[in-house]
């Protein structure tokens, strides 16, 4: 289990990075952010030609049968480029749910990018509270009714998958209403079902799907943080005040050295989340990386001065992505709370998890 990148992963990274630099640099992302944030042509190339859509799809269904580690490298680059494509929502969250449900026919459609899917789950839900924002029930006649708020990627999906009562359903005729979203490049929608026709495709363990997604989101957050750090470094080397680069002032240098240290550790945490993949590794990566991405974006805004406050500079797209992703799939606080039992750091008497001391705590209890 290595924390380094394999050669295959570096090649994949280079392919994604080159494509984004060529077709969709941040200034282009910004231009389309208010009208049609997603870029279907870019997605077609990325999904089909580079083949990222089928990374997590097993080979028997026409995919690459790759591991989370490769998908994570793609996410690093998509985070760095704030790329307007539904990779995370379709090729990670929805695809993983379908893999676990062994829904071969649907996976074949997703593998080559012909179809794009979304899982109707609130982006504000977490592995610890997977039902947050959802109120869907299965009627006796097999139709679904209810609503899910804060669904990411549903507005660009032609396949909508709805979890309800432990089952995963393929739904036709849902109303998907896009809302004005804090994150311009990954807007959320409200999905409303009013006796919608539904086909059950299998079982779903929503907490497991969200945990898998949370582990991979840490790589996207690392990518966002790294871009913010790199861009800020370039700026403070070039921007002069008091007849010298502002990056030569110790007050600025020390802030950036500390930020670099946070980002370096975010990379290690993101790699461990996919290498080890345990609930503890995922919770650690989320508890750390979500905050680092926000801190990096906030430092970037501050150290760019007035430019950082303008709509014209793409920085705000990163700040908005980072802050939304901090809430997505569990806040850092949610993940730390989970670590109380996962890592055996029980709280004071009466607090949640105080009794569930985890493996080490259990040993202590057993020996007394």
């Amino acid at each position: 289990m290595s924390l380094l990148y394999s050669e295959v992963e570096e090649e994949l990274r280079a392919a994604v990075r080159d494509l984004l630099a060529d077709r969709c640099p941040p200034a282009v992302v910004l231009k389309r952010a208010e009208s049609r944030p997603y870029d279907p042509d870019l997605w077609k190339t990325l999904a089909g030609e580079i083949g990222v859509a089928g990374l997590l799809v097993p080979e028997q269904y026409g995919g690459a049968g790759a591991s989370a580690s490769e998908a994570a490298v793609v996410l690093e680059e998509l985070g760095r480029g704030i790329a307007p494509v539904p990779f995370f929502t379709s090729s990670v969250l929805a695809t993983y749910a379908l893999v676990r449900a062994d829904a071969g026919e649907l996976l074949e459609r997703l593998a080559d990018g012909r179809s794009t899917a979304a899982l109707a789950v609130s982006f504000a839900a977490s592995p610890y509270l997977p039902e947050r924002g959802a109120s869907v029930r299965v009627s006796d006649d097999g139709t679904l009714s209810g609503a899910v708020t804060g669904v990411a990627g549903a507005d660009v999906a032609d396949v909508l998958l709805v979890p309800a009562g432990g089952g995963l359903y393929l739904v036709e005729g849902a109303e998907v209403r896009a809302t004005t979203s804090f994150d311009l490049t990954r807007p959320v929608s409200t999905v409303t079902l009013d006796g919608a026709a539904a086909t059950r495709v299998g079982d779903v363990d929503l907490a497991d799907v969200l945990r898998f997604g949370a582990g991979l989101l840490a790589s996207e957050q690392y990518g966002v943080a790294q871009w913010c750090l790199d861009t800020t470094l370039a700026y403070v080397k070039e921007r002069h005040q008091f007849a010298r680069p502002v990056g030569s002032f110790q007050a600025i240098k020390h802030r950036l050295a500390d930020l670099w240290l946070d980002v370096v550790r975010a990379r290690a945490a993101a790699r461990n989340a996919v290498a080890e993949g345990s609930p503890t590794a995922v919770a650690v990566a989320q508890a750390w990386n979500a905050g680092v991405a926000v801190r990096a974006a906030e430092e970037a805004v501050q150290l760019h001065g007035g430019i950082g406050m303008t709509w014209e500079h793409p920085l705000h797209l990163y700040l908005k992505r980072a802050k939304s992703a901090e809430v997505a799939l569990g806040t850092p606080g949610d993940h730390r709370e989970a670590l109380a039992s996962l890592a055996g750091v029980p709280g004071p008497a009466g607090s949640p998890g105080a009794e569930l001391a985890g493996p080490s705590g259990a040993e202590l209890a057993g020996s007394s």
């Binding site: 924390l3 240098k253 670099w260 650690v284 670590l339 709280g347 008497a349 607090s351």
Partner: protein, 387 residues
Amino acid sequence: MDEARLKERVAAFLSENDPAGDRLEFLRARFDAGLAWVWFPEGLGGLGLSRDMQAVVERELAGTPQIDGGVQGIGLGMAAPTILAFGTDEQRRRFLRPLWTGEEIWCQLFSEPGAGSDLATLATRAVRDGDEWVVDGQKVWTSGAHHARWAILVTRTDPDVPKHRGLTYFICDMHAPGVDVRPLRQITGEAEFNEVFLTGVRLGDDLRLGAVGDGWRVAQTTLMNERVAIGGGGGGRGSGLVGGMLRSWREHPELRTHDLHQRLLSLWVEAEVTRLSGARLREQLAVGQPGPEGSGMKLSFAKLNQALTGLEMEFLRDLGYDDYAFRRSETVDFYGRGPGYRYLRAKGNSIEGGTSEILRNIISERVLGLPSEPRIDKDVPWKDLPR
């Protein structure tokens, strides 16, 4: 040499040398067999292998007599790599073997009362007198000087050139007349370190390490190794100081509070990502791609140690202290002492081996490529600098 061959070599060594026999004889034989530090050259305690192969030797020789990484720390971590890089063949042969076996202990004569973070401004003079040098000055924060047979020493040999250029590096004989070691008591009560007065100390020119005037470059090698030594170290999840804090936390449910719980969880996460970062760095080193992350490890550990030891005191609510009695301590013992000691001693972590502020300068300039602050001392002869 691959792992299997190395194991054979260790087995052959063990068949000829009894670990239950004389400790020193065993260690000397281990050095002579090239099994001391395998990445050193043959004939100097090594086999010219890659550094990660050392783990094989350590596994195979577990349970045999070992060297003392504490009192020998400065010799092993700082003097040895510097002697290897800059020493003459004669110096390497003379010093490395007893350094490794622990027959001779080393200390470091770098900092001075007037030269801390700005080490290159140091004032201890060395003046040539035939085949000898005469050294006069005062050094400070010298850990283990009271045990040391030898020291690594940086002196000023030319005051008429800018400060970085007029330095020369020596091996100092700590038994020479004129070397006066006095303990410095620390806030913990004990004295790990000393001030060392050098008065008319005569050192042979064969104790010079590197060229006259090249001392700054030689010292850089020492300092980079110091920071790796201080920031390094492996260990699994929940090891180190966070592990000690956790044991205490689990043993005393009655002392837990919500506030401390939140803070401990945050520190646990920070300790874990720091550990992962170190594990990733070691993987990079093992495949020959050293990353710049190393510069950050010491900075991370200093901050973590201070936060964890501070939290532990709040948690335990114990207003006592184990022992302020003045004593000479052999090594730093975080775990064998009380929480008050740990808290106080951890304060040194952000000062020793380069302050956290200097480390941030190094990271921002060497890793991030940010410009240095304007300098007024770079091209001025040392003797004309304000002090």
